[in-house]
Amino acid sequence: MSALMEISGLKKYFKTRAGIVKAVDDISFEIEEGSIMGLVGESGSGKTTVGNMIIGVYRPTSGIIKYKGEDISKFGEKRPKWLRKDIQMVFQNPASSLNPKRTVRQSLALPISIHRPGAPVTKTIYDLMDIVDLPTEFIDRYPDELGGGEKQLVAIARALATEPTFIVLDEPTSALDVSIQGKIINILMKLRKEFGLSYLFITHNLSLMSNVADTVAIMYLGKIKEVARTEEFFRQPLHPYTKLLLSSIPVITDDEERLKPQKIPNIGEISGALHIPKGCSFHPRCPFAWELCEDVDPPLLDLSKGHLCSCHLYSSGSDSSAAQKSQVSE
């Protein structure tokens, strides 16, 4: 059975006055039906651009997005109605994703009137509010009369209003307090089960990711550096950037502290997207980099049963003694 969504060779380059910005540079992955794919990265990694291409905000510079077997990358913004209905998005900032001058009722009525023309509008809105566990009295409220979590639930209800199959979740809880995040995420998981949805879950929060996604992919400056099933990813992180990310997370229990890779030097910053370094884009910050890393971009190789990594430390063709020397002991 082929996957619900197949991305291959996806690229998005932006032409700016200062030069070409390679936001997404040759990305490939698959999302099975009913699964949650996690996309992790910091600012500038390109993860949001990937989401935007899937949802149709941008047309890819090159590459293919296959949805239900059909190439949808050719559409760009002028998507057919069935596609708009099927693929929805929940944005990061709940405050700006709802029109401050429209009530909840009006914001929810819009997708219903476009994609489900026969449906009884008010009743459908009430149903949606129930599904996301919001009191129906809220429908005449304006966004500024709702809390952050409540706004996000309205955004989720809006995405659900078209009866979609696939939802891109762009940092859905990053702007919310941690005590509310759980509720939102649990509702999302419940909805997935109930409606058989598939998610692309974009976030920079690895702790959250480890409990939500089935598969995790890490992006850095437009390229995927590592992909693996979640358990495998956290049990044995391979890429130096992954290890750096993990070691930077502020955790609160000693168990988690022990789990983090230790003593990974945190130097430098992500280079601007205009000046992506030659060779491996991570090498200026990598504590294990050597000459090869400055010249050649490492390929994304399958190292063991679906655990892919793009790093010369693991490339079979590289100088293995150098690799052994610089590898840190776990």
Binding site: K101, R102, L110, D144, R158
Partner: protein, 298 residues
């Protein structure tokens, strides 16, 4: 169990009351705005009821009484009489009529097309018609309204209608510009993007999603503009391009009375004070409207 439909109707009504109450609260926060509002209401009332409340209604039309001319302010004539014996107070009250008519017509003609053009140009940025609209706006903005009116007057007879047309031509691009600059920013907001991705029609997006967020600045501008239109109208009348005599028009009164300064000062000064007050009132009102739409701290 209350039927869902009834329940929502009740909630809706009290919610609407609550929302308007919030606007009023923000408005009355500033005492000066209340003053502006009060003055405007007063002046509009005067203008509307002019024929019935002015002491000497005939002074507003063709009327001559040389025996009574150039009399200083007194109990019988609080603002005095002019060179033809007409009561200045009456003429000032009728002058408001003319001014507010001017405002109503000019803004009535210019706001809706101006805003619509701004929305279209701002939403469809970079398309050829957007560029065309904005360059046209640039052209009309570059010509001072007074010169434009003079140009119009030199081609056609200077009547009230032509004056209003001239001012309107000069006015519409300001709304287009205001709405254009706001629209280009708002169109990039997440909620607009969400509506676009949903497949909403451009008409819906422009008028139901973007425009409501711009109402605050548009209404504020309308209020401030009212003052400007009155001023420009008075300036045109002052140079003789306004309504023909004997129409009581504040600018004309100032102009005609200026040759009698300083001895018979009341003929020019009272209309001038009226102009100043009405413009001030619109400005204060505009401040209040702006406060109404500004987001509160909490």
């Amino acid at each position: 169990m209350i039927s869902l439909v009834e329940y929502s109707k009740d909630v809706k009504f009290s919610k609407i009351a609550h929302n308007y109450g919030k606007y009023w609260y923000k408005f009355r926060n500033n005492k000066l705005s209340l003053l502006g509002l009060g003055l405007i209401i007063l002046f509009i009332a005067l203008a509307a009821l002019a024929p019935w409340i002015s002491p000497y209604p005939s002074s507003a039309g063709l009327y001559v009484n040389f025996a009574n001319s150039l009399k200083p302010p007194s109990l019988a004539h609080p603002f005095g009489t002019d060179e033809l014996g007409r009561d200045v107070l009456t003429r000032v009250i009728f002058g408001f009529r003319y001014s507010f008519t001017l405002v109503g017509v000019v803004l009535g003609i210019t706001v809706i097309p101006g805003v619509t053009l701004g929305l279209v140009a701002g939403y469809y940025v970079k398309r050829w018609f957007s560029v065309l609209i904005m360059r046209m706006a640039d052209i009309f903005v570059a010509v001072p309204p007074l010169l434009l009116a003079l140009a119009v007057a030199s081609v056609m007879r200077p009547t009230l209608l032509h004056v209003m047309l001239a001012i309107s031509l000069a006015w519409w691009p300001w709304y287009t510009r205001l709405v254009y600059s706001q629209t280009t920013t708002i169109r990039n907001e997440d909620f607009v993007r969400a509506a676009r991705l949903m497949g909403a029609s451009p008409i819906h997006i422009m008028f139901s999603e973007i425009l409501p967020n711009e109402l605050g600045s548009i209404l504020t501008k309308i209020s401030l503009d009212a003052g400007w239109v009155i001023l420009i109208g008075a300036a045109l009348s002052f140079v003789g391009l306004g309504a023909p005599p004997p129409t009581p028009d504040l600018g004309t009164m100032i102009s005609e009375g200026s040759i009698y300064l300083p001895n018979f000062w009341w003929i020019s000064v009272f209309p001038a004070i009226a102009v100043v007050l009405v413009i001030l009132a619109f400005n204060l009102l505009g401040d209040g409207i702006r406060d109404m739409f500004s987001s509160s701290i909490r």
